[in-house]
């Protein structure tokens, strides 16, 4: 394909800028998956074997881009990690606490390397809904599994992607049959509860024609000392007319969890996905999140929030991919950073050749709450069709002292005023989740982060 680059200076609303042959994005080595996945008719065993070959021969990945940004896994020793196994039974406390009081249509919990809990109402099972481990799906729902597994995800871009494809255990499989509408969310939880864990997690979800449902993945760890790895893969395919509200809630706590994951959502004909990743904690996180409108009429809202603290390192690459038109997209991310944390968010709009009548907008807003925190927000646009509009915008902000004074004059102390501002900053995204429990969960985590960063925020204000 012939990529033509539109520089990040493209004005919002100007539509497709004139192609500038020979110019390429310079900032980054990140690319969309944008193509067929590894699952090309090979059996699971063959795919595992192929991935194993790659895993055994390539080094750990390093991600770089200009602007002095590097994500390395240098303090990750794969040899020192193992995949812990657990018997089916008790749900880890962190899951019960996180999901307390939440109505769900079904719940699947993986602890370390094993699925320890699965439940799905009989009523939904009778209507053909499947929620089970991916291992079980590979054995018992082979036709569905082979049709969708790795149909868009690759196995050879880097060592941990290969590791996931070669070594995944447990895993989650969700199938919502044609026309089935489910109100309560399906919840899938991946838990790491001991240092030294390597978790190769893989979720495969399918919304068949006209299905409507919610899916939420929770990535959770209690605070611990030591290193762990979550190498995750997530794939969701929405068939014609399917609608899904998808959310990822990630909080790996204060332990040394390295999260290197690839998430792909494919939106079919006239289908719709509202996807909100909430990345709220992790020692090192590198995620490739790709939302692709694959067939005409697809529509999506790709919303995300992140909040880094302490010395966390976050590297997000989010792709809004339009493979065909007409289609529309709306990408809106908001992030904040305290402590000495580093966050890089790169958002890419890619409109493939022939994806005419695509309209999409990408906006990134960030807020620095500490003098030593660093947030980079990099929008980029790759357009290969002419009858489209693609634009982006964003803000990089600090706390607004006039707003703080205003609220103080009404009796709120400074920390409360800061909290109101930061919560208000995230609210346009959180308030649209249409899930009170999840909204409150995210708000509570953000409030806790602000409480921990109190001293940080105070000294920042005094020194300006």
């Amino acid at each position: 394909m012939s990529d033509t680059a539109v520089t990040p200076e493209a004005e919002p609303g100007t539509g497709a800028a004139a192609p500038k042959p020979g110019r390429h994005r310079e900032a980054t080595l990140n690319h969309a998956l944008a193509g067929a996945g590894a699952g090309d008719g090979r059996s699971l065993a063959e795919l595992r074997q192929a991935a194993r070959g790659i895993y055994d021969t390539v080094p750990l990945p390093v991600w770089r881009r200009s602007g002095f940004w590097t994500t390395t896994l240098r303090d990750l020793d794969l040899e020192a990690l193992h995949v812990p196994e657990h018997p089916v039974g008790k749900t880890p406390a962190i899951v019960s606490e996180t999901l307390a009081g939440k109505p769900t249509a079904g719940l699947l919990v993986q602890r370390g390397g094993s699925v320890v809990h699965t439940d799905l109402s009989e009523e939904l099972a009778a209507r053909g809904v499947i929620l089970c481990s991916l291992e079980q799906a590979a054995a018992e729902h082979r036709e569905l599994f082979e049709r969708y597994y790795l149909s868009r995800l690759t196995i050879d871009r880097h060592r941990l992607e290969a590791a996931n494809a070669a070594l995944w255990t447990g895993g989650a499989f969700l199938y919502v049959p044609p026309g089935v509408i489910v109100e309560d969310p399906f919840a899938i939880a991946y838990v790491i509860d001991e240092p030294g864990t390597a978790q190769y997690a893989h979720t495969l979800a399918i919304g068949d024609r006209g299905a409507e449902f919610r899916l939420q993945e929770y990535d959770l760890a209690p605070d611990f000392e030591g290193t762990a790895l979550h190498a995750g893969a997530f794939e969701l395919y929405l068939r014609d007319g399917a609608r899904c509200r998808l959310a990822h809630f990630q909080d790996w706590g204060t332990g040394g969890v390295h999260d290197v994951s690839t998430h792909f959502v494919g939106v079919g004909r006239d289908a719709y996905c509202h996807w909100l990743p909430a990345i709220l904690g992790g020692h090192l996180t590198r995620q490739h999140l790709e939302l692709a409108v694959s067939e005409p009429g697809g529509d999506m809202a790709f919303r995300g929030v992140f909040f880094t603290e302490r010395d966390e390192h976050l590297d997000e690459f989010a792709v809004d991919l339009h493979e065909t038109g007409p289609s529309s997209g709306d990408v809106h991310w908001r992030g904040a950073a305290t402590g000495e944390s580093r966050a890089s968010f790169e958002g890419l709009i890619q409109i493939d050749p022939g994806a005419q009548q695509t309209h999409t907008y990408l906006q990134i807003h960030t807020m620095m709450l500490s003098p030593k925190a660093k947030v980079d927000a990099i929008p980029s646009v790759l357009v290969s069709s002419h009858d489209v509009s693609a634009s982006h915008g964003g803000t990089v902000g600090e706390l607004d002292e006039s707003a703080i004074f205003y609220m103080q004059s009404r009796g709120l102390d400074r920390p409360s005023a800061v909290r109101v501002i930061v919560e208000g900053f995230f609210e346009p995204l959180i308030g649209q989740l249409d899930d009170e429990h999840l909204e409150e969960l995210i708000r509570t985590r953000i409030a806790a982060k602000l409480e921990r960063a109190r001293g940080d925020i105070e000294s920042y204000a005094r020194n300006r």
Binding site: D400, F405, Y406, M407, Q408, S409, R410, V420, I421, G424
Partner: protein, 258 residues
Amino acid sequence: MADLEIANLHVRTEDREILRGVDLKIDRGEIHALMGPNGSGKSTLANTLMGHPAYEITEGTITFRGEDISEAEPHERARAGLFLAFQYPVSIPGVSVANFLRMAINAKREEPIQVKEFRTQLQHAIELLDVDRSFTSRHLNDGFSGGEKKRAEILQMAMLQPDIAILDETDSGLDIDALRVVAEGVQRLHDEQGLGALIITHYQRILHYVQPQFVHILMDGRIVLEGGVELVERLEREGYDQIRQEYGAADALDVAGA
């Protein structure tokens, strides 16, 4: 001792001295008007009274109900019973008017306000300010018109029930209908709750709807003339220039003697 006493107040910002010895006493139940031309220091006084960090008090004191609050944090002054209606209210995205009001009320209290009590108060304030019920679910000042912002200021004042409110050019930029609603709101809070107010204004218009008992004229960082409502009429006839000519000389003498 008056509820709010300002004594020999000198205030500077980074680059210059703005207030040069202001004295003022305001009690609950009194309505004062502070008038002055642009650049005389009106907004500086308002912001200093509320504790804005950009203004430094170099001399003099602010005493509120017997306590020196010159060094107090803005939120402490608010909780003690002072209120500032801003000339340019700041928008607070993501927070509804109602939620913000509840937070502000609870900041003053030990126990959070009961839902029912809050609703009753809010309903009363809404009627007073002649705003639509949906107004309170909008994000505070976010996308508000000039008039809506000023109504929101007075709505907050009505809910927070301060002892003394400073209204910093609340009348500027208002059309006559909005001005009347805002001014009558202040008058009613005075009549019903015994509010004391310092109405800071450049113009005389608002004083047709709120009757001040005391009028002070501020020029070049000092109060140069004080009196009753007759001062407003004089100002209307003569304008600031006449008064400046009369008092500018005395002012200069004073400075030379200091």
